[in-house]
């Protein structure tokens, strides 16, 4: 595997693992990370989160990854674990670009 590809996959995997661990601890999920699938819906079905959990998710991601999520834009990233990972990575990238 090319090192660039490997790095890409690892980066995704690391962020995904951090997000799942965060969900498990902040939202008091009584299951292990292996029991969570990345495209599991967060609301309604799947993890059956509610609007208060949504607030907790945003606050916990913001403090863990030092990003700002609650900036008035649509919260459409609150769909699945994977979509949270997408958003975290996107925000980190924007931040990196701005810094450069």
């Amino acid at each position: 595997m090319q090192s660039e590809l490997k790095e890409k996959i690892e980066q995704r995997e690391n962020t995904y693992n951090r997000v799942t661990e965060l969900l498990i601890s902040y939202l008091a999920l009584d299951i292990s990370s292996e029991q969570l699938d990345p495209d599991t819906p967060l609301f309604g079905v799947g993890l059956e989160f509610d609007s208060i959990d949504a607030i907790e998710i945003i606050i916990s991601l913001e403090s863990e990854f030092e990003i700002v999520l609650d900036d008035g834009e649509s919260a459409s990233f609150l769909r699945t674990i994977n979509s949270l990972v997408d958003e975290v990575m996107r925000r980190k990238e924007v931040e990196l670009d701005e810094r450069n």
């Binding site: 009584d30 208060i52 607030i55 606050i59």
Partner: protein
């Protein structure tokens, strides 16, 4: 018997007494303004209906106590009560003096006003004082005491503001219930009603303001924070209240809604109103006084009751302020106006709903109404299930883990005891049999773990970002609501935070409710304690509950007598007198005092002893220097009707 209101008192953002409050309502003057008595710089919303710091209240005592003293004293004076020794107190408060001392305000009021009757504190978040009024009505009906001072007190603490803000429930502009502005505005204050029987008022030559005709409690059993969108819960409280008042929905002339201004509450409430009132809902004036008073949490129900009562005496209905365009699916007649509207009302109803889906409604009538016939004899009460637990993990035997996410230890303890008890009574959890059951819980404070979680989140992230989920668990009634959801209990539910005797008090009130009312046929009485490092003594913790059933003549164990009084000795005497027994004929068990749960532990121990063939009857009473004396008598068969 008619229960009448002979005095009212209020202290809130609209003024220091009921006269000032009413003048403001008449002028259409809202109490909502920028908050200046604590720092709100961290928030993007800074409005509240708060009492200005220049107000005349006593500054030597804690603020919430001062609010309570002012309003309670006004109500007593207004009613012309000169001898407070025969006055009981039923107070609703969400926060008390901080969450560790929910009943501290009651203790102060009893001492300050020299009230001689028992005192009970109800803490069911935003429905606290409505529950309090309901329980007070029954105390007058049962003749526990001659006068009952009932109402609510709550101060707007910074952490409450922060909590509501974190939940995204606050409105940027003054709240406009049922209109296009979404969100609520918080408030604070105190309000009290003085209740007595009509004959007592006549004997004193006092003209009552109104009759308190009935009340209804219910639980959503839907979600720990979101109201049931179908409005089933609020509808059930409303229809129970209307029926308790001996009325039909069409005879109600005005409805003072909980109407917080949030989208889920207002929509569910209107749906509930429609399901009770049918087509008539389209003609019924439905307004929310929170547009004047803000959401005064535990005091909201009592303040709104005072507004409603004053409106009745002035032959008007109070408006919903700030109303522009209606929201879709909102009341047809929200009394959208800047001023009260002339409208003669014979009967009115006030509704409130709390986090966790605990609902309450109270019906008022003009004092000239007809006497509503009531049950003459109590129903016999069987005890069909009992349990005590010291391990909160027992709940896992009954409920899948996914349903228990976020539950704090207090809720887990309570749920374990309730699940054991329902199973002991051979009931299937969440079945139709459970649906009719209610839950009265004695619990002195919210979960210590949740309080600490909230505190930690504030320390870590500041007031602008506290833990929203921990905040929702900080209401004393959180565990009660969670149990109703877990087991599908939709009957009357409330939480008593009355001091160490809360558990036995809950049992006595549940027995009374069941024996004399027809809205429910089975009630759970429970108590719960979570360990806490603040306590200066070490004790066991856990929960206990019993399931009472009305008319269960085939039940092996019967609750043959119960009594509530100012002190334990009087409660014991009353309980014995009711069944014409003397002390030698019963086995006394005196509950040694704290924690809250010991009273019901003693009851479950007595149940086990009876089951194992011991003779009894057992008389269980508290010894505590608490707020109310409670005593009950249990025996194997129902030999002595009360």
């Amino acid at each position: 018997m008619k229960v009448v209101i002979t005095g009212v008192g209020a202290y809130c953002a609209l003024g220091e007494n009921t006269e000032m409050l009413w003048k403001a309502i008449e002028k259409g003057q809202s109490g909502i303004a920028p908050i200046n008595h604590f720092n709100v710089d961290a928030f993007d919303i800074q409005l509240g209906a708060v009492i200005s710091s220049s107000s005349a209240c006593d500054t030597d005592v804690q603020t919430a106590v001062a609010y309570g003293r002012a309003a309670a004293a006004e109500a007593l004076e207004n009613a012309g009560i000169v001898d407070p020794s025969r006055v009981a107190l039923v107070l609703g408060t969400c926060n008390g003096l901080g969450r560790k001392e929910i009943h501290a305000i009651s203790v102060d009021l009893v001492n300050f006003l020299k009230l001689g009757g028992p005192s009970i504190t109800v803490s069911t978040a935003c429905a606290s004082s409505t529950h309090a009024i309901g329980l007070a009505v029954d105390m007058v009906r049962r003749g526990v005491v001659e006068y009952v001072l009932t109402g609510g007190v709550d101060q707007l603490y910074p952490e409450i503001f922060a909590g509501f803000h974190s939940l995204g429930l606050l409105s940027k502009t003054p709240c406009a219930p049922f209109s296009t502005v979404i969100g609520t505005t918080l408030g604070e204050g105190a309000a009290f009603l003085l209740l007595e029987s009509e004959s007592s008022a006549n004997a004193r030559d006092v003209v009552p303001l109104a009759e308190c005709m009935g009340y209804g409690f219910s639980a959503d059993a839907f979600h720990d924070t979101t109201p049931d969108p179908s409005g089933f819960g609020i509808a059930s409280a409303l229809s129970t209240a209307v029926a308790d008042a001996g009325l039909i929905p069409e005879s109600i002339d005005y409805l003072n809604a909980h109407g917080t201004g949030t989208a889920p509450n207002d929509a569910a409430e209107w749906r509930g109103i429609q399901s009770v009132f049918g087509d008539y809902a389209g003609q019924l004036p439905v307004s929310s006084s929170k547009s004047f008073l803000g959401h005064a949490q535990g005091a909201a129900g009592a303040l709104e009751a005072v507004v409603t009562l004053l409106a009745m005496t002035h032959s008007v209905v109070p408006p919903t302020l700030n109303f522009t365009e209606p929201r879709p699916n909102s009341p047809t007649d929200p009394v959208a106006s800047g001023k009260p509207r002339a409208h003669v009302t014979q009967h009115t109803v006030c509704a409130n709903a709390a986090f966790g889906g605990l609902n309450a409604a109270v019906v008022f009538g003009q004092p000239n109404g007809e006497l509503v016939p009531r049950r003459k004899l109590p129903r016999p009460i069987g005890l069909i299930g009992a349990s005590m637990v010291k391990d909160c993990h027992q709940i896992h035997q009954y409920v899948p883990r996914s349903e228990l996410r976020g539950l704090d230890p207090t809720a887990r303890f309570l749920a374990s005891a309730v699940a054991n008890t329902l199973t002991d009574a051979r009931l299937r959890l969440r079945s139709l049999d459970c649906e009719g059951i209610g839950l009265f819980v004695g619990q002195n404070r919210p979960s210590v773990e949740s309080l600490q979680a909230f505190q930690k989140s504030v320390e870590a992230r500041g007031f602008a970002q506290p833990s929203a989920s921990a905040f929702t668990r900080m209401a004393c009634s959180y565990a009660t609501g969670a149990c109703c959801r877990l087991f599908g209990l939709k009957g009357p539910a409330t939480t008593l935070s009355t001091g160490p005797d809360s558990g036995l008090t809950a049992l006595v009130l549940a027995a009374d409710h069941l024996a004399w009312r027809d809205d429910v046929s089975a009630l759970l009485a429970a108590a719960v304690d979570e360990p806490c490092e603040w306590d200066d003594f070490d004790y066991d913790h856990g929960a206990a509950s019993v399931l009472l059933k009305a008319g269960a003549s085939d039940a092996p164990i019967h609750l043959v007598s119960w009594a509530l009084a100012t002190d334990c000795e009087s409660a014991v005497e009353r309980a014995l007198a009711k069944i014409s027994r003397n002390r030698e004929e019963v086995v006394p068990i005196v509950v040694p005092g704290p924690p809250t749960v010991t009273g019901l532990w003693a009851v479950t121990a007595a149940v086990n002893a009876l089951k194992q063939g011991e003779q009894g009857p057992f008389l269980i009473s508290n010894r505590a220097d608490g707020a109310a004396g409670a005593a009950i008598i249990l025996q194997m068969e129902n030999r002595h009707a009360i």
